[in-house]
Subunit: 415 residues, 2 copies
Amino acid sequence: MIQCPRGTRDFLPDEMEKRRFYENELRHVAKTFGFREVETPIFEDAELFILRSGPNVLKELYAFKDKGDREIALRPEMTAPAIRMFVNNMSNDPKPIKIFYFGQCFRYERPQSGRYREFFQFGAELIGSATPETDAEVISMAASMIKALGLNEYKIRIGHIGVLRQRIADIGVPTERTAEVLQKLDKKLYEEARPLLEEMGVSGTDIDGVFELTETVGGIDVLDRVPGDAGDYLRQVVGYLSAMGVNDIEIDLGVVRGLDYYTGMVFEAEAPSLGAEKQICGGGSYTLSELFGGEKVFSTGFAIGFDRILLAMEKEGKVYEPKGVDAYVLAVSEDMKLKAAEVVASLRGSGVSSDIDIMGRKMGKALKYASAIRARYAVIVGAKEMEEGSVTLRDMSTGEQKLVKVEDLASEIKR
Amino acid sequence: MIQCPRGTRDFLPDEMEKRRFYENELRHVAKTFGFREVETPIFEDAELFILRSGPNVLKELYAFKDKGDREIALRPEMTAPAIRMFVNNMSNDPKPIKIFYFGQCFRYERPQSGRYREFFQFGAELIGSATPETDAEVISMAASMIKALGLNEYKIRIGHIGVLRQRIADIGVPTERTAEVLQKLDKKLYEEARPLLEEMGVSGTDIDGVFELTETVGGIDVLDRVPGDAGDYLRQVVGYLSAMGVNDIEIDLGVVRGLDYYTGMVFEAEAPSLGAEKQICGGGSYTLSELFGGEKVFSTGFAIGFDRILLAMEKEGKVYEPKGVDAYVLAVSEDMKLKAAEVVASLRGSGVSSDIDIMGRKMGKALKYASAIRARYAVIVGAKEMEEGSVTLRDMSTGEQKLVKVEDLASEIKR
């Protein structure tokens, strides 16, 4: 029996209804923030992702040659495609540009809890602006989205990559080795970072200072300890966030995001209930367009791991109740079947979701099926009632029945 | 500059809003018919598509080996994945099962008008029932969808593959060569079908008879000329369709669908405005589950070519007007910026889609931007007005301005 490929999933009706519901919640929030949806292809030139993340990304890419011998790759994330799209098609549009997207991404890795080879991301990019208001706008939207989904336990941590970059430069790490050091710090791999820094001739005191900096974590009062322009900048971001009602944040200078293209503010959100794989959202301000052949343009963006956040909601015991059809129509006898077809068509025309018996089932079996598909009402079409232009409307939860004129049926069900 | 891969597209905000709007119209119709959405992975074992369509399909597949040396393929269609999902996960669910899906499919071919390498399909499968009502239900939904999108000129043609299969068997075509003959007839390649049939020893008269049968086209009165059980069956389908208000159909015994797994009723819809590539929808009754290791289960389904039908709507001059944000909030002066942030947050909290100046623009430039993003209102936050708890609400289409209390702002804009 053929199964779906390892690390991918089928979404059956109940699960899918839930996912679409929450996807649309995210979409709704994005729209209230003035962001507009875009879509890019499922695959891109592999080069695009190498430019963004370095050649190491190839290990995790679904990359392959197409029949025209082009190296293409299933997208592992959507920021690079979105910025490529901006460079190709939107660079002359009035700034700022606010876009969002939702879709499948692909990563070849060992599947585990909350990690799939085909996974879903919701992301947004605010392109062409580099102000504290810009960053506050983006963080505020991420926070609103997490709230809109109804997740209770989460933490938003805001940092500034500039602080760490500056310190690392100050203590003598050569520019071309900054990324290497930041990657270790991102994962809090101090044991590995120390010999690396020592090898570059950094003193023990300076190394301790860097480690201490990445452990600068706490409420917004921590900002008093953030030096220079970055400190001033973050204080402004936090001020705007507070004006927008976003107060449940932490400052964490250890947020590094492990990618070269971030330029200033960086942030992450996590759901502690998820354990080791707890990150549900990450983003920050960056420039990327110049890597893809465009002008350098400042942007701020983030992505939400949709599967991950749904898992966190599940762990909190949040339950989504799938809806059934409004009505299930059945004919009492063979000669009423065309009438039943008329009735179901008129209900559907009025926007009432309705199903109809198509297997010629007897009443008892048909009602059992109606119950299985969670129909709210059964509409029983019998010859005698139809003579008066009526049908029997049965409330599936109470079993109560009453006669209703066909022309009143839709409004009766919609009540 | 990196472009999106050949035959794929970026959907910018206006286009995307239109596509989501029509996608949701289709989704809405499917739900009123009691169908429920599912989703399957973007790629599958290549074997799945070979089982459905034969090894020839490999030519057009985006197939590749993953790092685990598994032959996988981007899905070229979604019926096979849907039925695989049914076999794996839903085979014990109460029948009939009504599912639909929407998503990207992939075909490696020369891109041309209305044909892309990444294209979008909307499809539905009604699984586990084989009655005239079943087929009528499915055709009726397809017709409702085309109508819901607002396409004016289209033709729905209904046939029955059993008629042709029977005739071909009767005149002595061996079973294992039926598919070959049907493929020629599907494309009306009579010049190629004739020598093929002659080679199998079929007489000229019989060949002419087959060709004539595939040219049996017309209104429902043509049904009188459809022999045997298939004729009776189609008459019943048409009867149910008529009861459901679907009368704009044609009978066409030349609808062949070119695939082995169809068993009875087959249908297609076309938009004449599209010229050579005019098919917008196709489907029929089939069995497929037994090929994937399940029991034999009768189903009826169809797919709508989403790109194709949107193109047809465009050719008819149908225009979708993208919506802008409800409000654009701007601060008159630097010291009002936090207040502006409060105002925008309160609007968003009330479900009013709102944007805010994040670039510190002067009034004139900010209003120009508000106009570019089609904001309905500008909300001008000034110090003097704010002392009274008010802001200036400017109607962007008329230029009219008035003072509004902040607490009344959302309801004023929603009016």
